[in-house]
Homo-oligomer: 163 residues x 3
Amino acid sequence: MKKMMLAAAMMTGLAATAAQAQVAVKHIQPNEKSPIATGVWAGDTLYLSGQLADPVTPADVAKGTPAVYGDTKTQSLSIFNKIQKLLKEQGLDMKDVVKMTVFLAGDPANGGKLDFPGLQASYTQFFGTKDQPNKPARSAMQVAALVAPTALVEIEVIAVKGK
Amino acid sequence: MKKMMLAAAMMTGLAATAAQAQVAVKHIQPNEKSPIATGVWAGDTLYLSGQLADPVTPADVAKGTPAVYGDTKTQSLSIFNKIQKLLKEQGLDMKDVVKMTVFLAGDPANGGKLDFPGLQASYTQFFGTKDQPNKPARSAMQVAALVAPTALVEIEVIAVKGK
Amino acid sequence: MKKMMLAAAMMTGLAATAAQAQVAVKHIQPNEKSPIATGVWAGDTLYLSGQLADPVTPADVAKGTPAVYGDTKTQSLSIFNKIQKLLKEQGLDMKDVVKMTVFLAGDPANGGKLDFPGLQASYTQFFGTKDQPNKPARSAMQVAALVAPTALVEIEVIAVKGK
């Protein structure tokens, strides 16, 4: 028993040390040209970069037409699909999102104001559903402008691989 | 001693595995109608959703008067009290707040500009006091608009259950 | 062997307990007059407060000239140098930044719009270089206003001490 007590004491020390050294950091940066990472793992926590929508209709150089990105609802849907894809590539899914921040730009189709119902219409397809009841902690607000002039929505999430 | 060394080696492995699997995620979402969680625990980290002020005077349907929310100082005080209550329900308190982000809307009473002294007047009642000397890492800025038209302040915090 | 199995079972329990209790929180608040912390450690995660630029030319009381802060590129460079210094004081460096949020104010020199190339010109000196290839997850946007009227940029980071 003495040996076991001693071993226990030793192990506790080892466990503490091991736990402190458990944070493996992994930068996901597949695109060399991108100045930022797609996301970064820190232990079981995945920080994803703010995501913008893909165009509904890409630019057509031959026709000379610009890319079309759609309204707040459409852009939000595109972003949530992108986030889901990025999470799945990392072995996670929407259920694992613990924190979300939504940066909205004023929507010209809404008199330059943020289109909250548009955001919600897409958001509620992924969070708090029968199949995926988890909801993240969230903040949402209208900013003065996003980096891309066509962007009406930017969404960043923190996801955690739970046990 | 050999047995102990072997046991030690085994334990270290076990400890590492145990540590990796330690992140219990818990979504606090008592209100079925709310599209977002009140907060989410990820291990020892609690992410709270951005909080808005409660009205100082609720709307009176009989009299036909709208809810009154007050100025930046008043709304900040309401929010800090809400955050404290939410933290206490989770076994935490203001001392455990590690990160805070403050989103201010332009205050009409301040010419449409952010009222930083108003925020600070309420903030300093909870952080950096004699009784509660801890201060969080913080960012604060004025956004274009918050989701609720009456809101002048939205505050989100990350709190951690320390040892 | 039985003893070892028992010891192993005990240790696993101890390790789990140890891991849960591993989060040491440390508030870095050297300046008593500052209402916020410079940063807060939570386990291996360091949350730094949003940083503003130092003036390129300090105010000169004798001459009656105000402090000069420079444009978006200049302010960003000042901030990244400040962040690097703060990280180094904590045993970290730019490579350890896992998440960054950039709040830009409209730059008068850019027609009141955000100066993204200005931000990038300074950012790319610290992230994704040959010597420091790591890039953080990042979101960047223009807010309505920062707390200091002279500020065009505020940057907050989360850094993690990896193994």
